[in-house]
């Protein structure tokens, strides 16, 4: 039907289909800023536009409803590459992270300011109530709205500067994130924007049952459907076993799946992929695939999976590339299931559903318990939560000549290249992976969830392949946080000194074993070393189940280990009649501590005890105690139903994997004195590119504007292990720093020859000037000379960073909650996070990472939970039924404070910052709940229903 309306001030007319949504209609006409996080359910707000002066979601409007309307999109505010007052304010407050939601936020704040130029906090919350953001925690959006409002009256107003490193020009100060303007303008940036006309679409047919053999699969009718190019099933996919975990090779995860398997192991498991000229054709064809299942009993819990005689979820031949199976384990296959290959032993017994295990410790734990005055043993349980990046898993794969090119939304471009090359039967140099802007990853994009099928099919058919998960697949067929059951036994003397610790942990890895050892091990390795105890032991076991696949999620295993151990410590404090912070104080690590437990936590190799350098935990705890007036009892509300309580925990993480991983960068000096930094690092909205740019600019005496970063492109940039394990700043940032230093050395060599002065006399000064005792030369002059026939050749710095040094970030989190004893309602009224990330390179961007992590972990602690029925079907795989925090879930008093202790190896003293921040919420809130109402709650999420039960009221 014919349609006319005003779009961004200009009349537009055209033909629309009756059922076409307004979002589809506008995207087809070049309005790329309209994003989609909820498959047109109207629940994420990322497709928002201003329709007749009101903010609405364009995915739940038909184009036909726009007849005669006036519509504004973010493109209206981005004319001639200018930035509006709101876009500028979002950038200046560090609010732009992955940027997938930012166009919607820009519009929401413009709409607000048009109504209320001086908005209250309540009005800002209301304005943002329809927009979901998983990265930022919303806090800085408030600051941005306030800043924009202030600038309406005072256009020159700037936020107060911060400076965490006064002896540096750029480090420790705020600066615009490299890609922030790009993202705030809503331009093409994500995989979905790279799809060309004529691209084929891939539809994934998934299993409706949790555990079954595929008896037969008939694709004849589907193949005959119009538009269908290819169908892949277990019958015609490569006979290659692999793991989808994007970990360094050889991976500590079993190769326990093929691209498609004869046996489906969860609802949502892969059955067939249909490639067709349109999504609709692919979906229609998939409906005609006939599958007969031989249904098996699903194992829907750890206890079912580990029960004696349980049906094996994997029953193929087990083999080892290095080493051999543990004694007593079963390796002989049933002749039916696919083989399982371990790269090295993980103490597994897959036919008994044990995907991996580990046990170790120091001292004599039993003797420690014997010597204790008080011993407690408690069990904690953590349900499955979903990472929910607003941009789901997505890839666009195509051939270019004799090469395969993948535009990917990934944290691990090089692991994608390695795995896809193997599956497509190509050498690695024939595959190029280009990491586009990533609309949120949070760990789930560390796995090869969509790239393997798309890459294989693009190469096999020669067709361009677009493959994007919908939200339901994101829940059921991507990766979730491992569910865990953790038992903690603590023994202490009467003075609160720990005598023995034992942690026993069972993890539910789901149908396949990606990260099956490392996630649960991380629960131990990032919790136990916070406490000094001569006798400590742990045992972890990771079981296959028929629930959704588990994998990496921000924090990895640490949030669960932290929940169990920190809560148990507070429970022990209660038993001893001691303040919980006093208990922490008696046992925590401190400057100079020798951390012996690290001997048994070697991340897959021999561990070593570490003597800690300076540790900032004391200052962080002191700051929290002061802010929460810890020594005085908490004032209680007049309403007898309401009780307040507070809790505090200490947390830690690592900064990459020392001795295992490496990151590289290359710095190229151009003839005008500017720098192209080629970083292997994968910035997923975290600001890693900006960290790298700053490290290089600071080192080379340049301004930030002189540096452009190209990153995560396997053709253009050197190798990097990827963005995981809190490695971004520490590894990739250090690679950039070292590349800049390497370039600096080459610059000095060239300048020494040119100036006729000894190298030792030369200094590199701001702004790109090499000065000697007698003369000087600019970087531009040196780089220009490099391009001349008489010159000294291209000035390129290149470096790889690797280290044996562990840089631990620490934190202390303080929480206050208010519990309604009648209804079970719980509010987190105050949340203060004190963090030591070493020198914060970009303080506001670092804070944004922490706010985002905190709000995610508050969501996990309070109400996020994947709910399954008795058949293993997830009942809430969408944003209507699985709630992630909205702007209203932000605690009223929500603060992040950095108390930096510079690290000697980190770039300009920096350590990691983001992942650690998800480790505190669950234990701190659990402890605060107990402080408020006297009940311990040992299973997350702490729903009102569970709280009422814990209080004995339901």
């Amino acid at each position: 039907m014919k349609l006319s309306f005003i779009l961004n001030g200009k009349p537009i007319s055209g033909e629309c289909l009756d059922g076409e949504t307004l979002k589809e209609f506008l995207r087809a006409r070049g309005i790329f800023s309209l994003r989609d996080g909820c498959d047109g359910q109207g629940s994420c707000g990322l497709c928002a536009l201003i329709f007749n002066r009101r903010l609405v979601n364009s995915c739940i409007m038909l184009a036909a409803q726009a007849e005669g309307a006036e519509i504004l999109t973010v493109e209206h505010f981005s004319k001639d590459r200018e930035l509006s007052i709101v876009q500028r304010a979002l950038i200046d407050t560090g609010s732009v992270q992955c940027g997938y939601c930012i166009p919607a936020v820009v519009l929401a704040i413009h709409d607000l300011l048009a109504r209320s130029p001086r908005p209250s906090e309540a009005q800002i919350g209301d304005a943002l109530s329809g927009t979901l953001c998983r990265c930022t925690g919303y806090k800085q959006f408030y600051e941005a709205a306030m800043l924009a409002s202030r600038r309406i009256a005072d256009p020159g107003h700037s936020p107060a500067p911060v400076d965490f490193k006064p002896d540096s020009r750029l480090i420790g100060k705020n600066a615009s994130k490299q890609d922030a303007a790009w993202l705030a303008r809503g331009e093409k940036a994500f995989v979905e924007d790279r799809v060309e006309p004529g691209a084929c679409h891939l539809y994934l047919l998934t299993s409706p049952v949790a555990h079954a053999w595929i008896q037969s699969i008939d694709t004849q009718a589907a193949l005959a459907m119009p538009g269908v190019e290819a169908i892949v099933t277990h019958e015609n996919c490569p006979e290659i076993s692999y793991t989808t975990a994007g970990q360094g090779f050889p991976e500590p995860s079993p190769y326990d799946q093929r691209m498609f398997t004869k046996k489906v192991r969860c609802v949502g498991d892969r059955v067939a992929a249909v490639l067709a000229r349109s999504y609709e054709e692919a979906e229609a064809a998939a409906r005609l695939i006939k599958v007969e299942y031989e249904i098996l009993r699903p194992l829907l819990s750890i206890s079912e999976a580990k029960a004696a005689g349980a049906v094996p979820i994997h029953s193929g031949e087990v083999s080892y590339v290095a080493g051999g199976p543990p004694e007593g384990s079963s390796t002989k296959g049933d002749g039916r299931d696919d083989p399982i290959i371990y790269q090295f032993p993980l103490h597994a017994d897959p036919h008994r559903n044990l995907a991996a295990s580990a046990a170790a410790g120091i001292g004599d734990v039993e003797a420690g318990f014997e010597a204790s005055d008080v011993v407690i043993e408690r069990s904690y349980s953590c349900g499955r939560v979903q990472c929910t990046p607003l941009e789901p898993h997505v890839v666009y794969a195509k051939t270019e000549g004799d090469r395969l090119v993948l535009h990917a939304s990934t944290q691990v471009p090089w692991h994608v290249r390695r795995i896809v090359a193997r599956l497509a039967g190509l050498p690695q140099n024939r595959v190029r992976v280009i990491k586009e802007r990533v609309g949120g990853g949070f760990g789930s994009k560390q796995d090869i969830v969509v790239e393997d099928i798309a890459g294989y099919l693009a190469w096999k058919t020669g067709k361009p392949v677009y493959f994007r998960y919908d939200r339901e697949k994101e829940f059921c067929s991507s990766r979730t946080r491992h569910a865990m059951e953790i038992s903690v036994k603590l023994g202490a003397s009467r003075d609160g000194k720990l005598r023995a610790i034992r942690m026993r942990l069972d993890a539910d890895t789901g149908p396949y074993g990606q990260h099956c050892l490392t996630v649960p091990m991380n629960a131990i390795s990032k919790s136990l070393p916070l406490l000094l105890c001569d006798n400590a032991a742990f045992e972890v076991k990771s079981y296959y189940t028929n629930l959704s696949p588990a994998g990496a999620y921000q924090g990895y295993g640490a949030p669960k280990g932290s929940f169990a151990l920190q809560t148990a410590l507070a429970e022990l404090a209660e038993k001893l009649g001691m303040d919980q912070l006093e208990m922490i104080e008696r046992n925590r690590v401190r400057s100079g501590s020798r951390i012996e437990i690290l001997r048994s936590l070697g991340e897959g190799r021999e561990g070593q005890a570490v003597t800690l350098g300076e540790c900032g935990l004391g200052d962080m705890i002191a700051s929290g105690k002061k802010a929460f007036d810890w020594e005085r009892p908490l004032a209680q509300p007049a309403d007898p139903d309401l009780r307040r309580g507070r809790g505090a925990v200490i947390i830690q993480q690592g900064s990459g994997l020392p001795g295992l991983d490496a990151a590289s960068a290359e710095a190229r000096l151009f003839a005008d004195g500017t720098l192209l930094l080629l970083s292997g690092g994968a910035d997923l909205g975290t600001g890693l590119d900006t960290v790298s740019a700053k490290a290089a600019a600071e080192t080379l005496g340049l301004d930030l504007e002189d540096v452009v970063v190209v990153s995560g492109d396997t053709d253009a940039t050197p190798f990097d292990k990827g963005a995981y394990a809190s490695s971004g700043t520490f590894f990739s940032g250090n690679a950039a720093l070292l590349a800049a230093r390497d370039l600096k050395e080459k610059v000095f060599t060239a300048a020494a020859a040119l100036l006729g002065e000894p190298r030792g006399e030369l200094r590199l000064e701001y702004h790109g000037v090499v000065r000697g005792g007698k003369g000087s030369v600019t970087l531009a002059q040196l780089a220009h000379l490099a391009t001349q026939g008489t010159g000294h050749g291209e000035l390129v710095g290149m470096a790889t960073f690797k280290t044996e040094h562990s840089a631990f970030p620490y934190g202390a989190h303080f929480v206050e909650v208010e519990v309604n004893r009648r209804s079970g309602a719980l509010r987190v009224t105050r949340y203060h996070a004190y963090q030591d990330c070493g020198t914060p390179i970009n303080p506001d961007l670092a804070k944004g990472q922490v706010y985002g992590a905190l709000l995610k972990s508050i969501g996990h602690s309070l109400y996020e939970r994947m709910i399954y029925d008795e058949h293993g079907r997830c009942l809430n795989p969408n944003f209507l039924d699985y709630k992630i925090p909205s702007v209203f879930e932000m605690p009223e008093d929500f603060q992040v404070e950095f108390l930096p202790v510079a690290d000697e190896v980190g770039p300009y003293g920096a350590k990691s910052v983001s992942e650690i921040s998800v480790n505190g919420a669950a234990p701190a809130i659990a402890i605060a709940i107990h402080d408020a109402v006297g009940a311990w709650i040992r299973e997350w999420p702490f729903t009102p229903e569970r709280l009422l039960k814990a209080m004995g009221k339901l």
Partner: protein
């Protein structure tokens, strides 16, 4: 997805399209109908612009056009606080900007923010074909109920009204919600009590059985009231809460509604502290709504 989009010139044509086109649905804001990528495989009859959207007050009586959006209710100066609180129970502004009263009440979802209050306040529905129906009868008319043009509802100054909701997180659908209307006589007796619940059954409904426990009596102490109500709620459990939990929360909400109605002198302030009640925000957003009101008058 929607197969056919029909744009009638007037209400009469809309009615004829709705009756002649098999399976046709009336489309207003579309926030329910179009959710999940274009909505059902059917014809839709666009009624936007054909139905009134005004909010008119005469004395205690409010006349609200079926096409008024939830945000119109929030913004209007004619809207009593308790009704604004209920409209803000739809917490997401983007949805409030599109969702219409007519559409929301026609869907009669258990989580509807307005239905319980309108039921308690004895709202009536004016039909496009002429004639009026009580809201309860109209809502029970199934998915293709008759097209409504106006809603009539009174907020009589002699009566007290309250609305409360409970949800997992602020922007979630209500797990349970409760609305009340009653008169508290000078002798302390509760008269004319109507209680409506959302979230307990397949659609929001009046609960005369619960009202009868209190009607004509002094309001019992809170614990006693909750203990009397809880076992009689009979809620259906779902993924947002078990039946036992919902029964408990519904009883708490009703008791809280009594308390807030009496505190607020007839206008709910909501429970604010813990129920994610939108009412608490109502006052905070008042200047916002005034802002729009003033501009639209100008």
């Amino acid at each position: 997805m929607v197969k056919k989009f029909l744009r009638p010139r007037d209400v009469a044509e809309a009615l004829s399209m709705l009756s002649s086109e098999p399976g046709a649905m009336a489309l207003a804001g579309g926030t329910e109908l179009l959710a999940r990528g274009g909505g059902p495989d059917c014809a839709v009859v666009s009624i936007a612009g054909l139905l009134p959207a005004h909010i008119k007050k005469s004395g205690a009586r409010l006349e609200i056009g079926a096409n008024a959006t939830f945000q119109d209710l929030v913004d209007s100066r004619e809207t009593p606080d308790v009704l604004r609180a209920a409209a803000l129970g739809m917490v997401n502004r983007n949805i409030r900007n599109r969702a219409t009263l007519g559409g929301n009440l026609a869907q009669a979802r258990p989580s509807s923010s307005l239905a319980p209050l309108f039921l308690a306040a004895e709202a009536e529905v004016e039909l496009a074909r002429g004639g009026r129906l009580g809201l309860e009868s109209w809502m029970s008319g199934g998915p293709r109920k008759e097209l409504a043009t106006l809603f009539h509802v009174s907020f009589d100054p002699e009566s007290l009204y309250a609305y409360e909701r409970w949800s997992r997180s602020a922007c979630d659908l209500a797990i349970v919600s409760a609305a009340l209307r009653f008169v508290r006589q000078s002798d302390g007796l509760v008269r004319g009590l109507r209680i409506a619940l959302g979230g307990a059954a397949a659609m929001p409904e009046l609960r005369p059985d619960l009202a009868a426990l209190i009607e004509g009596k002094p309001l019992p102490p809170r614990d006693e009231l909750e203990a009397a109500l809880g076992p009689r709620i009979g809620a259906r459990g779902d993924l947002r809460g078990s039946a036992a939990f919902k029964n408990r929360e519904a009883a708490i909400l009703i008791a809280a509604a009594f308390a807030s109605a009496m505190e607020g002198g007839g206008q709910s302030r909501g429970r604010g502290e813990a129920s994610h009640s939108a009412a608490a925000k109502s006052a905070a957003l008042a200047d916002c709504s005034r802002g729009r009101g003033e501009r639209s008058r100008a």
